[in-house]
C-alpha cells in the first residue's frame, strides 16, 4: 500500500477517534460537560494525537530507513565478480536500483507482467530495449547478477512495504484503543494534550538543531578526508589555486579568501554609507507619508533574487565600468568581470539589509533621548550624530557584521560579475573569484568524490562556515549587549 493511503487511513482513524473520544467522555459525565475534568474537545484531541503522532512518526522513520536497509542487504548479496573493473560497488548498486525502478514502471504500464518481471532472464529477454520502451535508459546491457539483484531488490522492497503498512496501522490502532480506553470523566485530558503539544514543539526544534548538526558533521568529516589527501598547511597558506583533475593540483585557499574579502569590502563600502544614511533619513527626517512609501520600496531590493543582481552585474555594470576604466578610458580594466563590478552590485544588494536593520535599531533609541537633545537646542543632524548614532552604534555594528556575512557567502553575483580567475591582486579592476564561486566550480560536472579536487569544496565550505559563524556570533553578541542598555 502506498504511503499516501496509509496516511489517509491513519488520518481517518484519528478523526474518528476525535469524535468517539469526545462523545465517550461526555457520556461518562452523563452528558454534562461541567462534570468533566477538561473540556470535551480535549478528550477528542487526546485520542486524535495518540492515534496520529506515533503512527506517522513510525511511518516517517520507516520510509527513511527502508531503502538504506534494503540497499545494504542487496549490496552485501552482490558477488564480487558482478563488479566490473574500473567500477565500484556503489555504481553497480545504482544500476541495480535503476533496473528495479524500470521494472516497476514497466509493470505499472503493463508492458511486462508482474510474474515476468520476477522471472525475467537476461539471456533470453532483451531487457535493455524493453525498459527503454517505458523510458528508462540504461547505459549498458543488464548482466545476470545485476538483474537478479534487481529482482531481489523489488521483492525485498515489496515485503518491506507490506510490513510497513501492517506496523503503522497497528500502531495507529493501538494508540486509538489505548487512548479511548483511558477516556472517562476523571481523566486529565487537558494536561495530557498540553504535554503532547509541548513534545511536538520540542520535536520541531530538535529537528532544526539536528539538521544543522548533521550538516556541520558532514562538513567536518569530508574536510578531514580532504586533509588526508592534501596537506592542510598547503591548503591554508598556499598562494596558488590551480586545480586539475588529472592530479598535481595546487589548492591554496589564500587567493580565494583574498577575492572574497576584497569583494565583500567593496560591497560594504557601498552598502554601509548608503544604507546607514537612508536609515537615518527614513527614521529621523522623513515625514510619515514618505517613510511609509520609501521603506517598503527599499525592502523590495531585498526581495530580488541574487541571480538577477548577477545579470545586472554582467550586462549593465560590467560594460559600464569597462567603458570608463577599460581600454578606451583609463585602461585599468581588461574585461567587464572584475572585483569592482561584483562588489558594486553586491553592495546594492546589501543596502536594504543595512538600512532596514539600522532603521529598526535607530527607532529603538528611546524618544526621550531625542527630546533631551532637542530640548537643549540641538539640531537634527547634531542629535543624530552625537546622541542617536552613538546610542545605536552597537546595533548598527551588528547589522553591518550580518551584512558582511551575507556578502562573504554570496555566490551568484560573483560567478557572473567577478570572473573565475583565482588571483592575488590589489587592482580592483582585475577579475578575481571567491570561495563560494570555486565551491560551485569544483562540484559541478563529473567529479570523482574521492579526489582532493572535489573534496576541497568541503574544506572551502568549512572555512567559510567558520568565518561567517564567527561573524554572526560576534554580531549577535554585540546586538545583545546593546539591548541590555535600555531595559
Amino acid at each position: 500500500m502506498p504511503a499516501t493511503w496509509i496516511v489517509l487511513l491513519v488520518l481517518a482513524l484519528a478523526v474518528t477517534g476525535y469524535v468517539l473520544g469526545r462523545s465517550r467522555a461526555l457520556k461518562s459525565a452523563g452528558g454534562d460537560s461541567r462534570n468533566l475534568h477538561s473540556l470535551p474537545r480535549y478528550y477528542g484531541a487526546h485520542v486524535l494525537l495518540m492515534t496520529l503522532v506515533p503512527a506517522l512518526g513510525a511511518l516517517a522513520l520507516w520510509v527513511i530507513l527502508q531503502p538504506l536497509i534494503v540497499d545494504n542487504a542487496i549490496s552485501a548479496g552482490l558477488p564480487d565478480s558482478a563488479i566490473p573493473e574500473a567500477s565500484t560497488r556503489g555504481l553497480v548498486m545504482s544500476d541495480v536500483r535503476r533496473v528495479a525502478d524500470g521494472l516497476d514502471l514497466a509493470v505499472s504500464e503493463g508492458t511486462i507482467s508482474a510474474e515476468d518481471a520476477a522471472s525475467l532472464r537476461p539471456e533470453f529477454n532483451n531487457i535493455r530495449d524493453r525498459l527503454g520502451e517505458v523510458g528508462v535508459a540504461l547505459g549498458s546491457d543488464v548482466s545476470a547478477p545485476v538483474l537478479k539483484a534487481a529482482q531481489e531488490y523489488r521483492r525485498a522492497s515489496s515485503t518491506a512495504s507490506l510490513l510497513m503498512t501492517i506496523t503503522v496501522l497497528a500502531i495507529a490502532l493501538l494508540g486509538f484503543g489505548y487512548a479511548l480506553s483511558r477516556t472517562n470523566g476523571e481523566f486529565r485530558a487537558r494536561n495530557v494534550v498540553e504535554s503532547g503539544i509541548k513534545a511536538l514543539l520540542v520535536a520541531a526544534a530538535s529537528i532544526a538543531i539536528l539538521t544543522t548538526l548533521g550538516i556541520v558533521l558532514s562538513l567536518i568529516f569530508n574536510t578531514l578526508e580532504f586533509f588526508k589527501l592534501y596537506p592542510a598547511w598547503d591548503f591554508f597558506f598556499g598562494t596558488t589555486w590551480s586545480p586539475s583533475f588529472g592530479g598535481g593540483s595546487e589548492l591554496g585557499i589564500l587567493p580565494l579568501l583574498w577575492g572574497t574579502f576584497y569583494i565583500s569590502l567593496i560591497a560594504l563600502a557601498v552598502a554601509v554609507p548608503i544604507g546607514l544614511f537612508s536609515a537615518v533619513y527614513l527614521s529621523e527626517y522623513a515625514p510619515r507619508r514618505i517613510r511609509s512609501i520609501a521603506k517598503p520600496l527599499l525592502e523590495v531590493l531585498a526581495g530580488i533574487p541574487t541571480i538577477v543582481y548577477g545579470l545586472f552585474a554582467l550586462l549593465t555594470v560590467g560594460p559600464l565600468l569597462l567603458k570608463v576604466f577599460g581600454d578606451g578610458g583609463l585602461d585599468w580594466m581588461q574585461a567587464g568581470t572584475a572585483v569592482m563590478t561584483a562588489g558594486l552590485v553586491m553592495g546594492i544588494m546589501l543596502i536594504p539589509f543595512v538600512s532596514s536593520l539600522s532603521d529598526d535599531i535607530i527607532n529603538a533609541v528611546p524618544q526621550a533621548m531625542r527630546d533631551g537633545s532637542y530640548g537643549l537646542g540641538a539640531t537634527k543632524s547634531e542629535t543624530v550624530r552625537q546622541v542617536i548614532l552613538p546610542a545605536a552604534l552597537p546595533g548598527i555594528v551588528g547589522a553591518i557584521l550580518l551584512a558582511a556575512s551575507r556578502a562573504i557567502g554570496e555566490t551568484m553575483i560573483v560567478v557572473l560579475g567577478a570572473g573565475a580567475a583565482a588571483r592575488l591582486s590589489m587592482n580592483p579592476f582585475d577579475a578575481m573569484t571567491t570561495v563560494t564561486a570555486k565551491i560551485v566550480s569544483q562540484l559541478t560536472g563529473d567529479a570523482d568524490f574521492a579526489s582532493p579536487e572535489a573534496l576541497v569544496a568541503f574544506a572551502l565550505g568549512m572555512t567559510l562556515f567558520v568565518i561567517t559563524l564567527g561573524l554572526n556570533v560576534f554580531a549577535l553578541y554585540i546586538v545583545r549587549k546593546y539591548r541590555e542598555q535600555y531595559e
Binding site: P366, A368, M369, R370, G372, G375, L376, G377, Q485
Partner: protein, 265 residues
C-alpha cells in the same frame, strides 16, 4: 524648603517673560488647548497643575516649540518671549530651545559620560572657547544642579549609571549648562522618591534666582511648596491663574476648588 512663602511672594514684582494670547493647540482633530492666555514672570516659579490629559504638558511644550517634533500637532495664537513671537517664521526653534531649556518627566541622560552629558549643550552652542572654560561651565552647572559633590570624582563614568534622583539632577544641570533664560520642567519629580524629590525642589527654588522656572506637576503639595504662581488647567482650558497662596487658600473658580480639595481629577 520654602517656609514663609506668602511674605516673599508679595515682594517680587518681576517683569513678564512669556506672554501667551489665545493659544490653541490641536492634535489632529483633538482640540487639546483652548484659548489660553497667561503671563509668566521672570525669576518666578510658575506651577501648572490639573488632572491628567488637561493639556498642561502640551502647553509647556508649546513654550519651546517641542511640539514641532510631533507631526500632527498644530499650534495657533500668539506666544511671546520677551516680546518676540516665538512662532514667527524668522525664529529658529533650535535657538529658541537654547534659551528655553527643558527637563523631562523621566530622567533621560545621554549614554555618554557625566562630563559629556553636561558639555553637550555648551559644545553645540559654542559657549566655551577652551577646554578650561568648558571644564568651568561643567563644574558650575553640576554645582547649580546640586550634584557636583556626588559626581566630581567620576566625571568620566556613564551618566546612565547614576541613581534616578542623581540622573534627574544631572538632567537639570545639563539644561542649566546652556545658560537658558527659562527652564521648563515636565513633572520632574514623578519618577523620584521623596528624598530625591526634596533635593530637586530645593534646587528649583535656588534656580529661581537666575531663571524663570515653569513646572508641571501632579502633586499639589509640590506646587504649593515650590511655586509663586499657579495655573490650573482643566480639559484644555486655563481655569485659573494667580498667586499660589491665593489659589490654594481661596480659589475663585469652583473647578479649581474641587480639584484642590480632591473632588475631581
Amino acid at each position: 524648603m520654602y517656609d514663609a512663602p506668602t511674605l516673599e511672594r508679595d515682594v517680587t514684582e518681576a517683569k513678564t517673560k512669556f506672554s501667551a494670547r489665545n493659544v490653541q493647540v490641536w492634535y489632529g482633530d483633538t482640540h487639546a488647548i483652548k484659548d489660553v492666555n497667561v503671563e509668566i514672570e521672570d525669576n518666578t516659579v510658575t506651577a501648572f497643575i490639573g488632572p491628567s490629559g488637561c493639556g498642561k504638558s502640551t502647553f509647556l511644550r508649546c513654550l519651546n516649540r517641542m511640539n514641532d517634533t510631533i507631526d500632527v500637532c498644530r499650534v495657533e495664537g500668539d506666544i511671546r518671549l520677551d516680546g518676540e513671537d516665538i512662532y514667527d517664521k524668522k525664529v529658529d526653534p533650535v535657538q529658541l530651545r537654547a534659551k528655553v531649556g527643558m527637563v523631562f518627566q523621566k530622567p533621560n541622560p545621554f549614554p555618554k559620560s557625566i562630563y559629556d552629558n553636561i558639555a553637550y549643550g555648551p559644545r553645540i552652542h559654542g559657549l566655551a572657547r577652551s577646554k578650561a572654560e568648558l571644564d568651568e561651565i561643567v563644574e558650575n552647572a553640576l554645582r547649580r544642579g546640586a550634584i557636583w559633590d556626588e559626581v566630581k570624582d567620576r566625571l568620566d563614568a556613564p551618566g546612565t549609571g547614576l541613581s534616578g534622583g542623581q540622573q534627574q539632577r544631572l538632567c537639570i544641570a545639563r539644561a542649566v549648562a546652556t545658560q537658558p533664560e527659562v527652564l521648563l520642567m515636565d513633572e520632574p519629580c514623578s519618577a523620584l522618591d521623596p528624598i530625591a524629590t526634596a533635593q530637586v525642589e530645593e534646587l528649583i527654588d535656588e534656580l529661581r534666582a537666575n531663571f524663570s522656572v515653569i513646572i508641571v506637576t501632579h502633586s499639589m503639595q509640590q506646587a504649593a511648596r515650590v511655586s509663586q504662581k499657579t495655573a490650573f488647567f482643566h480639559l484644555g482650558e486655563l481655569v485659573e491663574f494667580g498667586e499660589t497662596g491665593h489659589i490654594f487658600t481661596n480659589p475663585e473658580d469652583e473647578r479649581t476648588e474641587s480639584y484642590i480639595t480632591g473632588r475631581i481629577g
